[in-house]
Symmetry: C2
Subunit: 120 residues, 2 copies
Amino acid sequence: MTETVDLLVCVTCRYMDRRDADPDAPRPGRLLADALAGALPEGITLRETECLSNCSRGCTVALRGPGKWTYVYGNLAADQADTVAEGATKYRAHPAGLVPWRERPEHFRKNCIARIPPLE
Amino acid sequence: MTETVDLLVCVTCRYMDRRDADPDAPRPGRLLADALAGALPEGITLRETECLSNCSRGCTVALRGPGKWTYVYGNLAADQADTVAEGATKYRAHPAGLVPWRERPEHFRKNCIARIPPLE
Protein backbone atom coordinates (compact mmCIF):
# COMPACT_ATOMS: atom_id res chain seq x y z
CA MET A 1 0.00 0.00 0.00
CA THR A 2 1.23 3.46 -0.79
CA GLU A 3 1.65 5.44 2.40
CA THR A 4 0.14 8.78 3.25
CA VAL A 5 2.21 11.86 2.44
CA ASP A 6 2.13 15.35 3.90
CA LEU A 7 1.47 18.42 1.79
CA LEU A 8 2.64 21.41 3.81
CA VAL A 9 1.29 24.77 2.68
CA CYS A 10 2.67 28.02 4.06
CA VAL A 11 -0.39 30.09 4.96
CA THR A 12 1.66 33.21 5.76
CA CYS A 13 3.20 33.53 2.27
CA ARG A 14 2.79 36.80 0.42
CA TYR A 15 3.81 37.62 -3.13
CA MET A 16 6.95 39.69 -3.46
CA ASP A 17 5.48 41.92 -6.17
CA ARG A 18 2.47 44.23 -6.11
CA ARG A 19 -0.20 41.58 -6.47
CA ASP A 20 -1.04 41.65 -2.76
CA ALA A 21 -0.23 45.22 -1.87
CA ASP A 22 -3.41 45.47 0.22
CA PRO A 23 -2.34 44.55 3.77
CA ASP A 24 -5.92 43.68 4.73
CA ALA A 25 -6.47 41.20 1.92
CA PRO A 26 -6.21 37.47 2.67
CA ARG A 27 -2.68 36.26 2.07
CA PRO A 28 -2.19 34.23 -1.11
CA GLY A 29 -0.73 31.34 0.91
CA ARG A 30 -3.96 31.28 2.91
CA LEU A 31 -6.02 31.28 -0.29
CA LEU A 32 -3.94 28.46 -1.75
CA ALA A 33 -4.42 26.33 1.36
CA ASP A 34 -8.15 27.01 1.35
CA ALA A 35 -8.38 25.97 -2.30
CA LEU A 36 -6.54 22.72 -1.54
CA ALA A 37 -8.71 21.80 1.43
CA GLY A 38 -11.09 19.10 0.27
CA ALA A 39 -9.53 19.06 -3.19
CA LEU A 40 -6.84 16.45 -2.51
CA PRO A 41 -7.10 12.73 -3.24
CA GLU A 42 -6.97 10.18 -0.45
CA GLY A 43 -3.52 9.63 1.02
CA ILE A 44 -2.41 13.27 0.92
CA THR A 45 -2.72 15.15 4.20
CA LEU A 46 -2.88 18.93 4.02
CA ARG A 47 -0.89 20.60 6.79
CA GLU A 48 -1.07 24.34 7.14
CA THR A 49 2.22 25.80 8.35
CA GLU A 50 3.41 29.26 9.28
CA CYS A 51 6.52 30.26 7.37
CA LEU A 52 8.57 27.74 5.47
CA SER A 53 11.22 30.48 5.26
CA ASN A 54 11.02 30.86 1.50
CA CYS A 55 9.56 34.35 1.83
CA SER A 56 11.26 35.83 -1.23
CA ARG A 57 9.81 33.14 -3.51
CA GLY A 58 6.32 32.42 -2.16
CA CYS A 59 3.77 30.95 -2.23
CA THR A 60 5.46 27.85 -0.89
CA VAL A 61 4.57 24.20 -0.39
CA ALA A 62 6.54 21.15 0.75
CA LEU A 63 5.98 17.44 0.22
CA ARG A 64 7.24 14.74 2.54
CA GLY A 65 6.50 11.13 3.36
CA PRO A 66 8.02 8.05 4.98
CA GLY A 67 11.13 6.93 3.10
CA LYS A 68 10.79 9.74 0.57
CA TRP A 69 12.85 12.77 -0.36
CA THR A 70 11.29 15.99 0.94
CA TYR A 71 10.71 18.67 -1.72
CA VAL A 72 10.06 22.40 -1.37
CA TYR A 73 8.40 24.24 -4.26
CA GLY A 74 7.94 28.00 -4.53
CA ASN A 75 6.78 30.92 -6.66
CA LEU A 76 3.25 29.53 -6.62
CA ALA A 77 0.13 31.64 -7.08
CA ALA A 78 -3.05 31.31 -5.05
CA ASP A 79 -4.87 29.90 -8.09
CA GLN A 80 -2.47 26.98 -8.62
CA ALA A 81 -4.18 24.43 -6.39
CA ASP A 82 -4.65 22.07 -9.35
CA THR A 83 -0.92 22.16 -10.10
CA VAL A 84 -0.05 21.43 -6.47
CA ALA A 85 -2.58 18.59 -6.25
CA GLU A 86 -1.18 17.02 -9.43
CA GLY A 87 2.39 17.28 -8.18
CA ALA A 88 1.46 15.86 -4.79
CA THR A 89 -0.36 12.92 -6.38
CA LYS A 90 2.64 12.01 -8.51
CA TYR A 91 4.95 12.46 -5.54
CA ARG A 92 2.91 10.05 -3.44
CA ALA A 93 2.93 7.45 -6.22
CA HIS A 94 6.73 7.28 -6.41
CA PRO A 95 8.29 5.16 -3.62
CA ALA A 96 11.13 7.60 -2.99
CA GLY A 97 9.22 10.74 -4.05
CA LEU A 98 11.56 11.13 -7.02
CA VAL A 99 9.15 12.04 -9.79
CA PRO A 100 11.09 12.22 -13.07
CA TRP A 101 11.60 15.82 -14.10
CA ARG A 102 9.58 15.55 -17.31
CA GLU A 103 6.61 14.03 -15.49
CA ARG A 104 6.33 16.82 -12.93
CA PRO A 105 3.87 19.67 -13.46
CA GLU A 106 5.65 22.34 -15.48
CA HIS A 107 5.65 24.80 -12.58
CA PHE A 108 7.34 22.23 -10.33
CA ARG A 109 10.10 21.66 -12.90
CA LYS A 110 11.21 25.26 -12.76
CA ASN A 111 10.51 26.16 -9.15
CA CYS A 112 12.06 23.55 -6.92
CA ILE A 113 13.54 25.47 -3.98
CA ALA A 114 15.29 22.60 -2.21
CA ARG A 115 15.10 18.89 -1.50
CA ILE A 116 16.28 16.79 1.43
CA PRO A 117 17.00 13.06 1.36
CA PRO A 118 14.99 10.62 3.44
CA LEU A 119 16.23 9.43 6.81
CA GLU A 120 18.44 6.40 6.42
CA MET B 1 20.68 14.13 26.61
CA THR B 2 20.77 16.16 23.46
CA GLU B 3 20.28 13.93 20.47
CA THR B 4 22.51 13.62 17.45
CA VAL B 5 21.70 15.84 14.47
CA ASP B 6 22.52 15.45 10.80
CA LEU B 7 24.51 18.03 8.87
CA LEU B 8 23.89 17.37 5.19
CA VAL B 9 26.40 18.93 2.82
CA CYS B 10 25.80 18.98 -0.92
CA VAL B 11 29.07 17.80 -2.49
CA THR B 12 27.95 18.55 -6.03
CA CYS B 13 27.38 22.29 -5.45
CA ARG B 14 29.13 24.74 -7.71
CA TYR B 15 29.20 28.53 -7.45
CA MET B 16 26.97 30.35 -9.91
CA ASP B 17 29.59 32.98 -10.70
CA ARG B 18 33.07 32.60 -12.21
CA ARG B 19 34.85 31.43 -9.07
CA ASP B 20 34.86 27.80 -10.21
CA ALA B 21 34.97 28.18 -13.96
CA ASP B 22 37.55 25.41 -14.23
CA PRO B 23 35.51 22.22 -14.85
CA ASP B 24 38.36 20.03 -13.60
CA ALA B 25 38.73 21.76 -10.24
CA PRO B 26 37.20 20.14 -7.16
CA ARG B 27 33.69 21.44 -6.60
CA PRO B 28 33.32 23.93 -3.74
CA GLY B 29 30.65 21.74 -2.13
CA ARG B 30 33.20 18.92 -2.07
CA LEU B 31 35.80 21.21 -0.51
CA LEU B 32 33.32 22.40 2.12
CA ALA B 33 32.45 18.83 3.08
CA ASP B 34 36.13 17.90 3.27
CA ALA B 35 36.81 20.87 5.55
CA LEU B 36 33.96 19.85 7.85
CA ALA B 37 35.05 16.21 8.12
CA GLY B 38 36.70 15.81 11.49
CA ALA B 39 35.99 19.43 12.41
CA LEU B 40 32.56 18.89 13.98
CA PRO B 41 31.83 18.45 17.67
CA GLU B 42 30.33 15.23 18.99
CA GLY B 43 26.65 14.79 18.24
CA ILE B 44 26.74 16.22 14.72
CA THR B 45 26.88 13.66 11.92
CA LEU B 46 28.22 14.82 8.57
CA ARG B 47 26.28 13.36 5.67
CA GLU B 48 27.52 14.01 2.16
CA THR B 49 24.64 14.31 -0.30
CA GLU B 50 24.37 14.77 -4.03
CA CYS B 51 22.20 17.73 -4.96
CA LEU B 52 19.94 19.39 -2.44
CA SER B 53 18.36 21.14 -5.44
CA ASN B 54 19.47 24.61 -4.43
CA CYS B 55 21.80 24.84 -7.41
CA SER B 56 21.33 28.56 -8.06
CA ARG B 57 22.36 29.46 -4.51
CA GLY B 58 25.11 26.97 -3.57
CA CYS B 59 27.03 25.86 -1.65
CA THR B 60 24.24 24.29 0.35
CA VAL B 61 23.86 22.55 3.69
CA ALA B 62 20.85 21.28 5.66
CA LEU B 63 20.36 20.55 9.34
CA ARG B 64 17.87 18.06 10.72
CA GLY B 65 17.29 16.10 13.88
CA PRO B 66 14.59 14.23 15.81
CA GLY B 67 11.78 16.57 16.83
CA LYS B 68 13.49 19.56 15.21
CA TRP B 69 12.70 21.87 12.32
CA THR B 70 14.83 21.10 9.26
CA TYR B 71 16.76 24.10 7.88
CA VAL B 72 18.42 24.60 4.49
CA TYR B 73 21.14 27.24 4.16
CA GLY B 74 22.76 28.40 0.95
CA ASN B 75 25.19 30.79 -0.73
CA LEU B 76 28.04 29.31 1.29
CA ALA B 77 31.67 29.37 0.20
CA ALA B 78 34.09 26.46 0.48
CA ASP B 79 36.00 28.30 3.22
CA GLN B 80 33.01 28.71 5.54
CA ALA B 81 33.33 25.44 7.47
CA ASP B 82 33.69 27.35 10.76
CA THR B 83 30.42 29.18 10.12
CA VAL B 84 28.62 25.93 9.34
CA ALA B 85 30.06 24.19 12.40
CA GLU B 86 28.97 27.07 14.64
CA GLY B 87 25.47 27.09 13.19
CA ALA B 88 25.16 23.31 13.51
CA THR B 89 26.31 23.39 17.13
CA LYS B 90 23.71 26.00 18.06
CA TYR B 91 21.05 24.12 16.13
CA ARG B 92 21.77 20.92 18.03
CA ALA B 93 21.56 22.73 21.36
CA HIS B 94 18.02 24.01 20.76
CA PRO B 95 15.33 21.37 21.38
CA ALA B 96 13.29 22.33 18.32
CA GLY B 97 16.23 23.56 16.24
CA LEU B 98 14.83 27.09 16.41
CA VAL B 99 17.95 29.14 17.06
CA PRO B 100 16.90 32.77 17.64
CA TRP B 101 17.74 34.86 14.60
CA ARG B 102 20.23 37.11 16.40
CA GLU B 103 22.13 34.13 17.78
CA ARG B 104 22.70 32.49 14.41
CA PRO B 105 25.95 33.00 12.52
CA GLU B 106 25.55 36.12 10.41
CA HIS B 107 25.66 34.16 7.16
CA PHE B 108 22.83 31.92 8.36
CA ARG B 109 20.64 34.94 9.17
CA LYS B 110 20.68 36.13 5.59
CA ASN B 111 20.83 32.87 3.68
CA CYS B 112 18.11 30.59 4.95
CA ILE B 113 16.69 28.90 1.86
CA ALA B 114 13.80 27.01 3.47
CA ARG B 115 12.70 25.28 6.65
CA ILE B 116 10.35 22.39 7.29
CA PRO B 117 8.55 21.63 10.55
CA PRO B 118 9.24 18.45 12.49
CA LEU B 119 7.00 15.42 12.13
CA GLU B 120 4.12 15.59 14.57
